[in-house]
């Protein structure tokens, strides 16, 4: 017990704010008035702090809720959709995959190592809270201009932080994406996705049941780190962002590893009624969440919370975002079973309260009540805003005549695959343990770096396919098409391995919702995502919204990241982007018009971005579904030796990436070698290598899917229409060279 504990009567927490409004706590005047109404009196400082975090954008989704409702969330294989800690889908053999993506953008800018590390820790807890053993981590990263003085520091810290946490906790980091754009100069994005596997009939939720049942705190002790993190994440930055460093949490992956093992061990017993991790807004949001889902009240004796620092106050305890903590409701009398397990794993365990029937949150300190607020209005009746929005102005079609003719395709290709956005990400994924747990599949030599990560479902013959995708420049130009494209690309990346796409999680990163043009981007992107998710039977089962990603009024590109999960029933059928044999036919699936608007070619080769880059390629959802289904069918029939979807950089970049992964060249024979044909980014397309070209063409024709032979494999170089070759060695030097040269150079 702390001998220097502050007596209840002396706590500043129970004083009523003299300012008599909530602005010091991040509440608007209207929100403060509503808080007074709910309490029936002026709330004290502790209560006001609780209102502030519960109603923060981060916790309440008050600006986004209206638009998230349009997402399709149901399918026969969906077990839990949005609203739980993570989404859950059936993956066969009586198992479920639980998965979710979450941002740690704001903290990662302020302190990249800890910000990114705790992002990984938080999303892992969302998954094992449900009883699922975490099996994979993915990361969608976005940084500013490589020339910006902070970019190198940020990528180094973020990648070390992700590796430092994931490697230690022993969950493989198997995939993700990384992109550079000046719009992220002041707001890098760190989105982490975790996937876990649980018995489908043993999934745990946060719904508290049984008045009188003990409420138990387990895990690490509570310190003063991360206080008001959720509130910080709900405002824009200015030049003083780094002064907010104390709001960033500090992670301890070792404790997380112990917490995973202890929780899973306890979950194998029947002691747990409900369980919730302490994430954003810590003890406040976890206790409110559990009580509100069960329609119950809670009494917590805050002086019983294990504390790491001396003289902590209730306000700090309720708002701390210290990591690696869990709140549980146990069956009565099972405290001993639980305590023995947590003691074995050397973790704190404390009964800190009980459930009540009052529907109120009553907090005590040395038996004195320090807060007493009703739960439902705080948890479920958070303010909801229909913020004004204006649709993004459509861009006129790109004037083809304004583009210079493609001179030397070699130079353009090298710029694309050897530039910041097209270069190999090996420097990143070699810092991650991507194979611990012994189920990371390697197909024809390709582990990380393919279209989707492939992971054997432990102890079965099935595999999960995992990907994360978004093309922010498309979203900026046309939010609806961009939203569709993010979902469609995830669908394609899974299909290209042979996996059936099952469901998605998302991480919606935008600027300030208080600006109508930003809100317009949000509305458009979510509309496009909803359309695609519906058309492709690819429901949204979990997600996260990160708004206010702007610094000094400069917003990020709209970045609705989609994390996709699919299943292969027979992992032996998986294909990768690498072929093994020479003299295979290369077949292009899908139709193209040579669409160059918003392409990587315009950006990286011609230096055209923003309005000058024209509109993005439209996404034909019916064609996406038809082509994806046909590709999966071809793979399932064993007709495909290698497959790659066409995305950034179009056909030639896809062919080059396949050749590099294969260690064997290819010759393309095309109707023309124009920029549009080589680098156009028309959607819904795949490049397939096959030993059975005639069969593939016949099957494609039957399926009504455009398909044509565009070349064949072999040799040590890439050629187009018999012209001068470019050697794989030259391509590899360009592709592998950029990121290490950039990141390892001392600033």
């Amino acid at each position: 017990m702390n001998t220097d504990r502050i007596p209840a009567a002396d706590l500043p927490d129970i004083q009523v704010s003299t300012e008599a409004d909530g602005t010091g706590q991040g509440l608007s005047a209207a929100e403060y008035a509503r808080a007074v109404e709910i309490c029936g009196r002026a709330p004290n400082l502790l209560e006001l702090g609780i209102f502030s975090v519960m109603w923060s954008e981060h916790c309440s989704y008050k600006s986004s809720k209206k638009w998230l409702r349009q997402f399709p969330t149901q399918a026969p294989w969906v077990i839990y959709g949005p609203g739980e800690n993570a989404g859950a889908v059936a993956i066969g053999d009586g198992l479920a995959a639980c998965f979710k993506m979450e941002s740690h953008n704001h903290p990662s800018f302020i302190e990249p190592y800890q910000g990114a590390a705790t992002g990984v820790g938080g999303i892992l807890r969302d998954v094992f809270t449900m009883g699922a053993r975490p099996v994979a981590i993915l990361n969608a990263l976005r940084f500013g201009d490589p020339a910006h003085p902070k970019t190198r520091h940020l990528i180094d810290g973020v990648v070390r932080g992700i590796g430092g946490y994931g490697n230690c906790v022993g969950v493989p980091t198997v995939g993700g994406e990384c992109e550079f754009d000046p719009s992220y100069n002041g707001n890098p994005l760190v989105n982490a996705m975790a996937v876990g596997i649980a018995p489908a009939n043993r999934i745990f939720t946060a719904k508290a049941e049984g008045a009188g049942n003990p409420v138990v705190y387990v895990g690490a002790k509570t310190g003063r780190d991360g206080i008001h993190g959720a509130t910080m994440a709900s405002t824009t930055f200015d030049d003083d962002a780094e002064q907010q460093r104390p709001t960033v949490q500090v992670g301890d992956p070792f404790t997380e590893k112990l917490l995973i093992e202890a929780c899973l061990e306890l979950m194998a017993t029947d002691a747990i009624v409900a369980i919730q991790d302490m994430g954003a807004a810590g003890l406040t949001s976890s206790s409110f969440e559990m009580a509100s889902k069960g329609g119950l009240g809670v009494e917590l004796a805050l002086d019983r919370v294990p504390m790491r620092e001396t003289a902590m106050r209730p306000y700090e305890i309720m708002l701390s975002e210290s990591q690696e903590r869990m709140l549980m409701v146990l069956k009565p009398g099972r405290e001993d079973v639980a305590e023995a397990i947590f003691t074995k794993w050397e973790l704190d365990f404390a009964v800190i309260g009980r459930l009540t029937e009052t529907g109120r949150m009553v907090l005590t300190w040395d038996d004195t009540t320090v807060a007493d607020v009703p739960i439902p209005p705080l948890a479920d009746e958070a303010p909801e805003y229909d913020r004004p929005w204006i649709p993004t102005e459509p861009r006129p079609a790109l004037d083809a005549a304004s583009l210079p003719p493609l001179g030397d395709w070699h130079e353009a290709l090298v710029r694309l695959i050897g530039g910041p956005n097209g270069a190999s990400r090996r420097w990143i994924w070699e810092q991650y343990d991507h194979m611990v747990m012994g189920d990371s599949l390697v197909v024809n030599g390709v582990g990380p770096g393919g279209d989707a990560a492939l992971l054997r479902i432990h102890g079965t013959a099935r595999a999960l396919a995992l990907t994360s995708d978004c093309t922010p420049r498309y979203c900026e130009a046309d939010p609806v098409q961009g939203g569709r494209q993010a979902v469609a690309e995830a669908y394609r990346n899974l299909s290209a391995t042979g996996a059936k796409p099952l469901a998605i999680t998302d991480n919606l990163n935008f600027g300030s919702p208080e600006r109508p043009e930003i809100m317009g981007q949000f509305v458009g992107c979510t509309q496009g995502m909803a359309e695609a998710a519906g058309a492709l039977d690819f429901p949204v089962v979990s997600g996260n919204v990160s708004l206010y990603n702007e610094t000094n009024g400069q917003a990020i590109l709209p970045t609705p990241v989609v994390g996709g999960l699919g299943v292969l029933d027979d992992l032996g059928q998986a294909v990768s982007i690498a072929w093994r044999d020479e003299s295979l036919d290369l077949i292009l699936i899908g139709a193209g018009t040579g669409h160059l608007g918003c392409s990587a070619y315009l950006r990286d080769v011609l230096g055209r971005t923003g309005p000058d880059a024209g509109p993005p390629p439209p996404v034909d959802l019916a064609a996406e579904k038809q082509n994806g289904t046909a590709v999966r069918d071809l793979i399932g029939r064993g007709l495909v030796a290698a497959c790659h979807d066409l995305s950034e950089g179009g056909l030639l970049v896809a062919a080059a990436e396949m050749a590099l992964a294969s260690g064997s060249g290819c010759a393309l024979n095309l109707a023309d070698a124009s920029a549009g044909t080589l680098f156009g980014e028309d959607q819904g397309r795949y490049l397939i290598a096959t030993a059975r070209g005639a069969d593939v063409l016949q099957r494609a024709a039957l399926a009504g899917v455009p398909a044509q032979i565009v070349g064949h494999t072999g040799g040590g170089a890439l050629t187009v229409n018999g012209g001068a070759p470019i050697s794989l060695d030259d391509l590899r030097t360009a592709h592998e060279g950029w990121l290490p040269a950039f990141a390892d150079t001392a600033a």
Binding site: C168, Q431, G445
Partner: protein, 223 residues
């Protein structure tokens, strides 16, 4: 009769399951999982010290776990001739507890590195390597931040002179280790510490099965 294997689990071990799966694959039965606080070992032919971050690798890798109660038993068993295989963090534990000489320090590149490494095999008259050919090149992954093996010149000379370098990196050295050392034996050749993970290379689906003969060698030597 398959050999009896035990996998020691420390708080923070994370390759214990991988090791158990590989051992079960070869022996046909699940190894005993041994909690680090155990003060008595069951009868065993092989003790596997797995990779991971025992005690978070705080202080120094393996330094705290080396003082776990079970390590006294492991040392006693090793002295009686029980084979011990320490992989990655298990190798740290063997140097920290004095069962193997030298130390593993931060990678020369200062970054964690997870990739396939090419290894050349040293002698083949040990329980671990009979199924390999001397000088054979293996592809086995590494995944570590502190795999840079170092010892004083005299110790290195003795290790080499006594044929106790089990594996060397033969293509590129991922961590800057002295003399490209990837793994070493104790004096008897029955205790092996290595940074690469043979348990991650036991089937083609995982990218390599070059680690499988190591376990098969054990199976033949210890059965």
């Amino acid at each position: 009769m398959s050999f009896r294997a035990g996998v020691v689990v420390f708080p923070g071990s994370n390759c214990d399951r991988d090791g158990a799966v590989a051992l079960a694959h070869v022996t046909g039965r699940s190894p005993k999982m041994i909690w680090h606080q155990d003060t008595e070992l069951p009868p065993l032919d092989l003790i596997f010290l797995p990779g991971g971050f025992s005690y978070g690798d705080y202080l120094r890798c393996g330094a705290i776990a080396a003082h776990s109660p079970v390590m006294r038993e492991v040392a006693a068993a090793a002295n009686k001739g029980v084979a011990v295989l320490g992989v990655c963090n298990g190798f740290h534990l063997l140097t920290e507890s004095g069962l193997l000489p030298g130390a593993l320090i931060r990678n020369a590149g200062l970054k964690f590195v997870c990739r396939d490494a090419a290894l050349s095999v040293g002698r083949t008259d040990t329980p671990f390597t009979a199924r390999y050919a001397r000088g054979q090149t293996l592809r086995i992954p590494v995944a570590h931040g502190d795999g840079n093996y170092n010892a004083d010149a005299e110790t290195l000379a003795r290790l080499e002179g006594e044929g106790r370098v089990a594996f060397r990196y033969c293509d590129s050295n991922p961590n800057g280790s002295a003399r490209n050392i990837a793994g070493i034996y104790n004096e008897t050749g029955r205790v092996l510490g290595m940074m690469p993970h043979p348990e991650r290379a036991v089937e083609p689906a995982l990218g390599s099965s070059d680690g499988l003969p190591l376990f098969q060698s054990l199976s033949e030597a210890l059965a």
